[in-house]
Subunit: 655 residues, 2 copies
């Protein structure tokens, strides 16, 4: 427990700054012609008090033991930028002039490019999960700091908040103080009409402490922030406020949620605020400010901050000699790898974490848990929360893995992963149970869209290993990489890929390299591209065709989002192309190979005559329940069907 | 309120049937070698009582005023199939033999192909939202039935349940009785250890009635089902049960969540159940049953049910004459169209519904609300719930629209839409605010992945209109279509597309046709393909190039997931190809055109020499905040940049 603390400034001084901050909110939204002044005004006093109460340092915005302030309703960025500027993080006038200009860091929703902003938000309901991730970080590092999360009242409707509350209780995150800005208005009107909710009862039902205050009374705010530190549980401060506070014609009007004042209204508002006009003076100088803004835009003379989080402490020791020789599922290889890594680095480097959503046995996280139990988080059936919480923990130094079935840890949480990506996290998403290989659990569980989804996330890399050896090596690789990765595996035991001499293909000398294709065998008649679980099938197909005198190259693509263009050029010059995948045929490997061919043509690396037909073998509709063998057969993806389909292509006819 | 009711059978009779049902659960999972017996046994008595208490009719499984039973934890399918069979819906032995066989309706998670199953589930936490949709249907049709939703206790951790609870309270859905099977075990152990939760307090905090019973005591179950009908609020019955109930070595063992017994264990279990072996006799006949199963599989002699929901009552009157002549946003045209449809059909055909998530002004649903307020649902900031609830309402006869920003109503709820798709709903998702056209709200709000996401959903059709006229016509079209559609629009006002004679292109004679490309103008030097908001830009580009002597065809693709192959063939024969889109360039129009070219080559409709380079102009990374014009410029997607990029292509060089 922390001692009772005083804010950095006197309440009188904060009140006086709040006038300048409010004027700044209005000035920047009016200048930009857009933004969210209403909620910015209601949250302002809370932010002013919080940023002066929290242990933060504008001179060292990323100091390790700082308190963290997460703003979950990211649209109140004008308030956040104004207060951070007045707290010394940057020049206020810069924020006013550059708000929402392309190229400036002062984006419409709070952005991590601005010093003092801990987490970019915009999709509502996710901030508290990020706060949980930061709170875990503090627990793991034994840092006695406090994690604050300011939220809107409307966003309390989002279900993910219940998940975050439960997680915080389970893991004893008594270092979290949440604050809800209860201005009672959301876009479509009063929260009690749009969607009635008993916010206090919701938090209490999950075991949180709740304090109720007037969110414009600095004494009450400071008092509550202190009280929250004395309670041995996560605490939510329910702060009654007024939307548009301090400007009579804005108060309690939902229209100001997302509408800026015009110049005339702004002048009235300034008069009401009694603001000292100084730099944000607007009355006679609106045009001058607009010119300055225009000039910044034209000359691209935007403020640039250098905020580089401390580098990930990597160089994890890995076992380079592990080789599987017998049929085994890739999931087990992942489980072995992460447990081996934990074991090898025990006592020397423990900035590893693994999250699981009630699937420990299936996603093979149990061994890791035994080796490093304090870094294993069992988050129950709460994937939305977990995706964000794990992302936040990965941000500053924990190499964090989130393991789950494809259908849960990706398709349910696509948006959460996208927001992680925008937050430049270092999350490693480990999907087991992708493809028809999932089998009997049926179409609600067949994640056949993982390539198609991840391909939209600019910062994510994707690895789809061919067998247990490649899986183990890929995990060894990933654990020493920063950035976001997703690794996808099926469920079944797979044959170990071997070369023509019956030697293990991904052997001791193999090192995983992102973007490198694996030429499993070479042929002169054409190429078969494959990824993931169907490598074994592909190898059998190629051998069978060889016996018929058809010699195909077999090329494994373990990184479908980055396909080696030289391999494509060579394949085009070799002959007809086939692709095989345990994935939706519209959005997977075959589609990416087709596109790549057109790309190399467009960049004039091949000639039109080199372009070859591409026969795509993959999943063409939702499947049913059944063994994976039966499912493949039903979709004509078994060895015999593929051989037949290749024979029946114009290729077979030509031969 | 319904009167106090008795179940169809005496409690003694139900108890006796429960033994047969339990034996069937174990038999079918052992035969299949997979499945979820533990939860099936704990839920069995609840299901037995419920299916005999509810007003349902195996002879008329879809009778309009039936009670609805939703099973949210779909993995207890063995229990559902056993009880439905004993209730007369189908032959029990068929279910036992065919469970989890590819081609049979008896899938691993409850599937709508089985009569009596109202909603396919598998992803946890979504059933109560579907129940809300069905409950709304009853309210709208003034049907005095009851909607039951049986759920697991582990899945109560999912946040979406809180959203469903709040929605049910707001809309007075006192026709819902939920039941939670409190067996206290989830996959990874006791719920109180995996993720502590006070389920009762959670429901009460949202205003639900809660009854607590012993879930194996038929008197208590029936009594609670009756009591629930007397309470003027949605009610949750918290039913304490025992996982693996009635087989001593299975009871309270989480390992039986997802593991079948082996033959030997099965015989012990039968002995404990004291089951009359009859048809499900196994002791001496295990091999015989396996042979039968194998034979059904080989001969594909699966049970087939003909369950066709009543056809949608369509033929909505639409305004065919509406034409926009001045610049306007597509969203307004959607808002006009849906309000006009409501108005035109008022009093004669009102099976329309619109859902909104606190964005009424932005997504333009306000006019509809004025015309048909009883069919407008303001669901607050609860997209996960809303996507499912709207899907369920669309299933039986309501042409249901769910309007939202792209980033919320699609990227947050991809999985929910996928499950709707599996449920063969008739949902019309209306996305406003897609693309960089969203502008200043920044990258958390730029939905630039809608084509890339929807392309994975086999049953969804996608429409991306070029201007307000095409939007209005597309809504007129959609309102008379069954199935799932998604229509995507930007935010800004757009010029009305006009032809060379300055006449409105999508005029009174234009009728929207799915899959038809729009040849805006023709040229001999090459083709520019475009979709959605950038049509106006594309038209300016083409005009500008024409002045330079470069004549491009301009082709609008309003249905990117179904591109007319003849248009592609013609374009290939014309010349170099350019694509322009306000979308992630990796997964949007350009990628689909590239693939289509390879497809027509592969199907030998063009020759390799016809294949043309494709220059793809789209979004190449997360953008920042800014006006849409500034954003386009920053991504080189403004008129001048595009003209320049086309000039700089090898095409320009050649000319």
């Amino acid at each position: 427990m922390k001692e009772r603390m005083k804010p950095l400034l006197s309440i009188e001084k904060m009140k006086s700054l709040s006038v300048e901050a409010k004027a700044s909110i209005l000035a920047m939204t009016t200048l930009a012609g857009s933004g969210h002044p209403g909620g910015s005004m209601s949250s302002l006093d809370l932010l002013m008090a919080l940023y002066h109460f929290a242990d933060i340092d504008p001179k060292d915005p990323l100091k390790q033991d700082r308190d963290r302030v997460i703003v979950s309703h990211g649209h109140i960025s004008p308030a956040v930028y104004s207060v951070l500027a007045l707290r010394g993080y940057f020049n206020l006038y810069d924020a006013i002039l550059q708000f929402r200009l392309v190229g400036s860091p002062f984006e419409g929703h709070v952005a991590i490019e601005v010093p003092g902003v801990e987490w970019a938000t915009g999709n509502l309901g996710q901030g508290l999960s990020a706060a949980c991730g930061f709170a875990l970080e503090s627990k793991l590092k034994s840092i006695n700091n406090r994690i604050y999360c300011l939220m809107g009242d409307g966003e309390q409707q989002k279900g993910q908040l219940g998940e975050a509350r439960r997680f915080a209780i389970k893991y004893g995150l008594n270092n979290i103080t949440a604050i809800v800005d209860l201005n009672r208005l959301q876009i479509c009107g009063n929260i009690s009409e749009v969607m009635p909710q008993n916010i206090k009862a919701n938090y209490e039902s999950d075991g949180w402490g709740v304090l109720q205050i007037n969110g414009h009374d600095y004494d009450e705010i400071i008092d509550a922030l202190n009280k929250a530190q004395q309670i041995d549980a996560p605490v939510m401060i329910l702060a009654k406020t007024i939307m548009g506070k301090s400007v009579s014609f804005m108060e309690n009007k939902e229209k100001y949620h997302g509408a800026a004042l015009n110049d005339e209204e702004l002048i009235f508002a300034f008069r009401e605020l009694g603001v000292e006009l100084s730099e944000i003076e607007y009355k006679n100088n609106g045009a001058m400010h607009r010119e300055k803004r225009q000039s910044i835009k034209e000359q691209k003379s935007f403020t640039k901050f250098e905020i580089e989080p401390p580098p990930l402490d990597l160089d994890f020791q890995v076992n380079k000699d592990k080789i599987y020789d017998k049929s085994i599922d890739n999931r087990s290889a992942w489980g072995d790898a992460i447990a081996d890594i934990a074991r090898l680095n025990l006592g020397s480097k423990e900035n590893l974490a693994v999250f699981d959503c009630d699937l420990m046995g299936s996603v093979k996280t149990a061994d890791f848990q035994k080796v490093l139990p304090s870094h294993f988080f069992q988050a129950g059936i709460m994937e939305h929360h977990t995706a964000v919480c794990a992302g936040a923990l990965s941000k500053y130094g924990f190499q964090t893995f989130f393991a789950g079935f494809g259908m849960f840890a990706l398709t349910e949480v696509y948006n959460q992963l996208r927001l992680n990506d925008i937050n430049k996290t270092n999350l490693k998403v480990i999907l087991t149970h992708v493809g028809l290989d999932v089998g009997e659990d049926g179409n609600t569980h067949h994640c056949i869209d993982y390539i198609g989804l991840v391909n939209n996330l600019f910062g994510f890399k994707l690895i789809v290993p061919a067998d247990a050896n490649q899986t183990y090596k890929a995990i060894n690789y990933m654990v020493n990489q920063k950035g976001n990765y997703l690794l996808a595996m099926g469920r079944s035991k797979l044959d170990i890929i071997k070369n023509d001499n019956d030697e293990v293909f991904f052997d001791k000398n193999y090192e995983f390299e992102y973007g490198k294709a694996d030429i499993i065998c070479e042929g002169n008649d054409g190429s078969l591209f494959v990824t993931g679980s169907l490598n074994g099938t592909a190898l059998k197909v190629v051998k069978k065709l060889k016996n018929e005198g058809i010699n195909l190259s077999l090329i494994n693509i373990p990184t479908p989002l980055q396909i080696d263009e030289n391999v494509i050029i060579k394949a085009c010059k070799t002959g007809i192309i086939f692709t095989l995948e345990d994935h939706n045929v519209k959005t997977g490997l075959g589609s990416l190979i087709s596109q790549k061919i057109v790309e190399v043509l467009t960049s004039q690396k091949i000639k039109p005559n080199d372009v070859k037909p591409v026969h795509r073998f993959g999943i063409e509709n939702y499947a049913l329940s059944g063994s994976s063998a039966d499912l493949y057969k039903s979709m004509q993806l078994d060895v015999d069907s593929i051989v037949e389909r290749i024979r029946n292509s114009e290729f077979g006819v030509r031969n």
